[in-house]
Subunit: 464 residues, 2 copies
């Protein structure tokens, strides 16, 4: 799964060793303190080397989230005079978007850079955002790779565009740092150790020399005043050691996992009807693949896969506490129902992937069966046309949750003549994303939405 990985054996060893050697306070003068200081310095040097920065440019934080919060806040404070605008992509990790929201609530302004259907920001998009900003831009943020669909972002290009505008770029490298350093001339970088198989409780924040940065108080003297609180030394040591270890294996393992993901990307649409595999097929993380299944309830699908001992995540509305599809899928304007995110841990066996491909079709069919989803054929069967082509057929899906509105739309589309219209009434957030996505997949014409007395009316014209 994408949100964490088992502890790397090297991390485990280093953690155990450091538990004995590294319990003391590195800021103390006596021997245990000095020994702790040496361990801390060594961990910092190793991490800095892997990041590609100077040791004195890097601090350890209690989490990747905290690195993002404090990195953005410090850069915004340091550039207060330049302006209060923050530029982010629409598909950043929630930690970045939450910080942006807090900045807006505090009177700052935010520009959201859109992405294409693969989840990638267009080259030149950051330059445009900086050019068009009505006020001074303090900071721009761009993830190295997307955490839900695996699409790599054009970080080096964005860094050039930002440099040209004199704006620092913060790169959230949480997803990619274990695979390799972030290329290009970034200004700030954040990462999270448990994403590369390191321990939880360790984030990285790198701030290049020369980048204006002012830590937002309160803070103490630890980590150059940039990350307060007693250093979690054993975890830091384990984080640095495991980063070095996964990097040593990265090239070979990336190629292997990439092959497995290619297989999933190719086979799933062949094995399962009405599936949309999302994310860039080429410029992507080696281990991550995401697809959405039409007419499927994401939560039911996850539970069935879990029963088959596959641990996957989902960006479907039914799997989120807010009952809205993931902001990434929304920004990409792709199907969100029946969404499955597969993240292959290092060392995943090919046999496991084959077993997944064996199990998936039956599981999806079973969930669709239960929901009374239309058979792939069904939707395209054209029955007797109704006499009046212009009559719009209205489907009341009010109070019904994803994927029911789309299923009901699919069931009736064949009952209106080609050129006829179906209007779906729905108060489910997912419908806004999934009805247009369905039209795209089915070659029907989506004619837009308008607010109804209750919920929203989505208008679809039958094309075939």
């Amino acid at each position: 799964m994408a949100s964490s990985a088992p502890l790397h054996p090297v991390a485990r060893q280093a953690l155990l060793a450091a538990l004995d050697e590294g319990w003391a306070d590195p800021s103390r003068l006596y021997r245990e303190g000095r020994r702790a200081r040496l361990l801390l310095d060594a961990a910092r040097e190793a991490a800095a080397e892997a990041v590609g920065c100077r040791p004195d440019e890097l601090v350890f934080t209690p989490s990747g989230t905290r690195a993002v919060y404090d990195g953005i806040a410090g850069a915004l404070a340091g550039r207060r005079r330049a302006g209060r605008r923050l530029v982010v992509s629409a598909v950043e990790h929630s930690s970045v978007l939450h910080t942006a929201a807090a900045h807006e609530a505090d009177g700052g302004t935010v520009t959201e850079v859109p992405v294409d259907r693969t989840g990638r920001v267009a080259p030149g998009a950051y330059a445009a955002a900086l050019r068009e900003a009505p006020d001074g831009v303090a900071l721009a943020c761009l993830q190295s790779a997307n955490h839900e669909v695996g699409t790599l972002q054009p970080v080096a290009e964005a860094a050039e565009e930002c440099a040209a505008a004199g704006v620092p770029l913060l790169v959230d490298a949480a997803q990619s740092l274990g695979w390799g350093p972030v290329e290009g001339n970034w200004s700030l970088l954040t990462a999270s150790a448990h994403k590369w198989g390191g321990p939880a409780g360790v984030g990285l924040l790198a701030v290049r020399k020369g980048v204006r940065f002012r830590t937002v108080p309160p803070n103490d003297e630890r980590e150059s005043g940039r990350s307060p609180g007693f250093e979690n030394l054993p975890a830091l040591v384990a984080a640095a050691a495991s980063l070095r270890a996964v990097r040593a294996e990265a090239a070979a393992e990336a190629e292997r996992l990439r092959g497995l993901v290619d297989r999933i990307r190719a086979r799933v649409p062949e094995l399962v009807p009405d599936v949309e595999v999302v994310g860039d097929p080429e410029r992507r993380l080696p281990h991550l693949v995401t697809f959405s299944c039409l007419y499927v309830d994401g939560e039911a699908l996850l539970h069935e896969l879990d029963r088959a001992e596959f641990s996957v995540s989902s960006g479907s509305s039914c799997t989120s506490s807010t009952l809205t599809p993931s902001h990434v899928l929304r920004a990409m304007e792709v199907l969100s129902e029946g969404n499955v995110r597969v993240s292959l841990p290092r060392g995943t066996a090919e046999a496991e992937v084959e077993r997944f491909l064996e199990v998936l079709p039956g599981v999806v069919a079973q969930v669709r069966e239960r929901l009374g989803a239309p058979k792939p054929a069904e939707a395209t069967v054209a029955p007797d046309p109704v006499p009046e082509p212009e009559v719009a057929l209205v489907v009341d899906s009010l109070g019904k949750r994803c994927p029911i509105p789309v299923i009901e739309l699919a069931k009736v589309i064949g009952q209106v003549p080609v050129g006829g219209v179906v209007v779906v009434l729905s108060d489910d957030e997912a419908a806004r994303l999934d009805i247009p996505a369905w039209c795209e997949m089915r070659g029907q014409t989506y004619e837009g939405e308008r607010t109804a007395d209750r919920g929203v009316a989505y208008r679809v014209r039958r094309r075939a």
Copy 2:
């Protein structure tokens, strides 16, 4: 040493077990996630039981410092309407004082409650502070016990005084939670796991139901929205397990350590001349004792003790990056030069304490020798009085650091007649604290300071 302790064996076991069971994301639906959730819930229940609150009142934070920052910020934000005044004692941990400073910088106001020479706030002091506050008080903070001198604070009384005024009380229980729950009707409580032998990277924040609290954004959905970032599950599990374990041993171990500290408190003044043992002799933590040695350089003393394999801390100016004595010793108005803080880890052997008592006198004598400190006798020898009793003898100690100004004062005091005056010119921050303290210890009259062309002139009248 006071700022950390070796990992408790139980913590180590729990950590290892949780490394295998608890790496997954507790917010996920699949089995590893659900298992992680169970571990997290169990750790929360155990910690809440030890704290004496409901599990849903307690969240885990990445450090005690972060618990203090976020606890105070959340309580201040939640009580914004009541006012913007924060009441703290003058001897709180720096994390509390840093938060207070940040609050002031942000336009808030702060009242500092003074302490007596034992480091204890007077009963009624909080009631007085609340009564005399010119504006609305949002929050009051009081440590359960002081981290440098071990003095217990009247938390239960302060809680009553705050309750009577309708003001919530936040108790920083970092020093005492391992020894027992905090008594009295506190509103918020913070603690730090590595202080009780748990792992680094874990703090506790308890907020009683009914206490107005608003997390300051950015934040995410983790830990009831009160502590963002991926949960450090193995560490949380180890923290809870070790808290339970140390509590089981607490009563017996406290009595044993108390005996050893009593021995240090009694013997040190007998073995070493010109020593002031500070802190409340009765109402104190079982394992912590602090004393200051006249005419001694704290850093040199620490190094000598370290060579003898004793790991102690110091609040002397020469051991701090800012070259000022610890704010705790300043607030207590006690001697800060040659300050030694001994914190006995659980299980400390009596023989170790005896060895310390054997080594200490020689080490102190050696350091004093090197500094040319006056022999205990010397200072009291009265030589031929100078003819003019009213002439003030001026000692220029400008540019000299603690303990030199006090040493030079002691050397010349005998050269003025009884009733005569010595003026010490010093630009060392420690002199402001240590010259009056020396007068107190030596029965001389401190007549105050005034700013000189360079540094400060401290006026001392010879009484004997």
